[in-house]
């Protein structure tokens, strides 16, 4: 089967339309299961009490924020290398959801840190790297928004995304180094490997829930972008037709 036929916006548009509802529904269902496990099956933690239950949204949000950035950079790169419009549109569709996940990771991380460490913000390696990742997303969105010509915006933001994705591991490791130097004892908020199995299961289900939801949301946003950019095309139908 020739998958490359889906690389045109016109061909992918209906496919995305059919897939999106399924992913959103799966996200909701998995979320319900995950939250049930997180609140009713998982026991109270010995050390952190019930505040640890925030991990069931903090960890999935953080993982999504990083995964989406890499995927975004990948599609942006494809769009830059092969001059395919749909790939660049996909990158633009991914960015807002990625930024949202990053913000949620920071917000939930902060609320987890307060009862655990006593302050609303902790300069631990992961939170600080998440903060910088948020700046990278905002930079991408700002650059794309500042350039009027869509194709030029596609290419410029693609270069930025590629430069950013190379820097993400560098930033992460340098922030980790910085953190251990200045604080001696590790101040990592995330759990040590001694998590009860049921907690891990809950987290895993929530990760898949977030993943499903993000795919659904991104597909819907991609359809919106395709409608906007391709509205002049014959296949898109006359307005109000």
């Amino acid at each position: 089967m020739n998958w490359f036929k889906y690389s045109s916006p016109a061909a992918f548009y209906p496919l995305a339309g059919k897939m999106a509802p399924w992913f959103l529904a799966a996200g909701a269902a998995l979320g319900a299961i995950g939250l049930y496990i997180g609140f009713f099956a998982a026991p109270t933690d010995f050390q952190q009490g019930d505040s640890y239950r925030i991990i069931f949204i903090h960890v999935p949000a953080a993982w999504m924020s990083m995964l989406i950035y890499v995927v975004m950079a990948f599609w942006a790169g494809i769009g830059l290398a092969f001059n395919t419009r749909l790939s660049s549109m996909m990158a633009h569709a991914l960015a807002p959801t990625g930024a949202l996940m990053t913000f949620l990771a920071l917000w939930t991380g902060s609320l987890w840190g307060k009862p655990t460490w006593g302050t609303w913000w902790v300069w631990d390696a992961r939170l600080t790297s998440e903060l910088i990742l948020l700046f990278l997303y905002i930079g991408y969105l700002s650059l794309a928004a500042a350039i009027d010509d869509p194709r030029k915006a596609d290419k410029a933001s693609a270069v930025l995304a590629l430069v950013g994705v190379i820097n993400v591991p560098i930033i992460y490791y340098s922030v980790q180094w910085w953190n251990t130097l200045h604080q001696g004892a590790s101040v990592s908020i995330t759990r040590s490997p001694s998590m009860a199995a049921i907690m891990l299961w809950g987290m895993l289900v929530m990760v898949f829930a977030f993943w499903s939801y993000c795919i659904g949301a991104v597909l819907l946003r991609l359809r919106h972008i395709i409608r906007e950019r391709e509205r002049h095309a014959a296949w898109a139908g006359a307005a109000g037709g």
């Binding site: 209906p14 009490g49 939930t108």
Partner: protein
Amino acid sequence: MQWNSAAEFFAMGGYGLYVWGAYAVTAVLVAVEAVTLVRRECAARSSRAQPEGKGRPR
């Protein structure tokens, strides 16, 4: 089931503010994103006769 009462559930062992603060903001923002996207999608599907699946740019 470890919660003896609804009150206990909401208190979250004293950490209720943090746990529900985290979950509430997450729920609200995700809902805003989802609702915005779904509404745009429904509006587009109903107002325009999309030639779904028939389209090939000429």
